[in-house]
Symmetry: C2
Subunit: 213 residues, 2 copies
DNA sequence: TCTGCGTTTTGTGTATACGCTAGTGGTGTC
DNA sequence: GACACCACTAGCGTATACACAAAACGCAGA
């Protein structure tokens, strides 16, 4: 693995995990020394993080970890809705119904509310679903845009803790989306995605509001 | 201006303009020598072009200008549809109706069919419209994704020559979209965008088919 | 004491050198 | 004659040195 990849992965983790808080100044030399790489690969890593939107230029010479406010979460979900609705619609028109039928079944039998191990298994199913969607749609532009959105989404997840009811509902929503894709029903797939994202966003915003009060 | 920016701009131009044909091997040393910069800024420029999707890795050590086939154009328009429909919808819900009313008027009085100067003026109106849309939507994730799509779209434009009828129709379609946004009608804005992109894609594909025959 | 100018320091942009890896061509052996 | 192995070369990843620019601090003068 290349030094620039390691530096990117490490910084990404630290920003997503909140260890590097928004506003933290990211100096080339400082980070390069800390992570034991030289400035050149560190520059590349920082460049990728800037492109991802996780680091931004505060002034001509200082880069800082970008903030992540409630308004950013709304923007993120707007973009997510545009991309994921389109993906669901296209997948429903094209996809192999076997794969999504199996995924729908997995969502239907998932019991993510039964402890952290079950939740992990549920997240793994979601990851498989996302991967299947990417392959079914087979559109580099959409997938690439969604990758950036997902990278930023990881930061939102940290702000909100999933509760029991939300996990159960989320599994049901995913099951419906997968069923709609398997059935070749683009409108249902898109609208079920819309509903799912609406609930996910509402849940995150409620969770943040609770956390503040 | 930084050397890496110059190198990026130059290579971008050459790829979009077709001077560097798909499949052309892009060597760091070769390009750095040719453009009179050193390898470090050239690496950065190439990295950005790879992120944009204009250059891709053919094998572990060779980068080539990526191909741009009919299938890529379809993918591009799928992504464009997802993003621009969402943008139009959001802008209609939010935008200052004065700005888009004025743009609608500009589209209505545009006569892009009257020679290349009039066409240039028309393209300038489109650029202003795109800019106004970006500002109205005010969503970095959507705008960034659309920027990448537009970068690739420039390659498609070279493959298709706009004809008289298409230009006239395009102006009318844009006028309708702008009017819908100004009127605060999200569904009409989105569907007019859909119609516009459908016609634009059809026109490009027809134009390519003609060019081949 | 405040303001302005100069100097120093810090940090980025660029250039270049070094080392490693992969690819290719040639030679030797079976 | 064909296949395999070794060596050479080309090109990339990384490190580092140098240059330049901006910001901050200090000193001096008003």
């Amino acid at each position: 693995m290349r030094a620039s990849d390691r530096a990117y992965a490490t910084l990404l983790d630290e920003i997503q995990g909140g260890e590097m808080a928004p506003g933290t100044v990211v100096g080339e030399v400082e980070q390069a020394t800390r992570l034991g790489v030289s400035r050149t690969p560190m520059r590349e890593a920082i460049g990728r993080l800037v492109a991802d939107g996780l680091i931004r230029q505060q002034s001509p010479r200082v880069l800082v970890v970008s903030g992540f406010e409630v308004e950013d979460i709304r923007s993120l979900f707007e973009a997510r809705r545009a991309l994921e609705e389109a993906m669901a619609r296209i997948a429903a028109a094209r996809a192999d119904s076997g794969v999504f039928g199996a995924l729908a079944h997995d969502f239907e039998v998932a019991k993510p509310e039964l402890g952290s191990q079950a939740a992990e298994a549920y997240y793994a199913v979601i990851a498989r679903f996302d991967g299947a969607l990417d392959r079914a749609v087979d559109n580099v532009y959409l997938v690439q845009a969604l990758r950036t959105v997902r990278t930023n989404l990881a930061r939102a997840r940290r702000l909100a803790r999933d509760n029991r009811e939300r996990l159960i509902a989320s599994a049901r929503e995913h099951a419906l989306i997968a069923r709609a894709i398997a059935a070749g029903d683009p409108e249902l797939a898109a609208h079920a995605t819309h509903v799912h994202l609406h609930h996910a966003l509402t849940s995150i915003l409620d969770s943040i509001k609770e956390g503040q009060s």
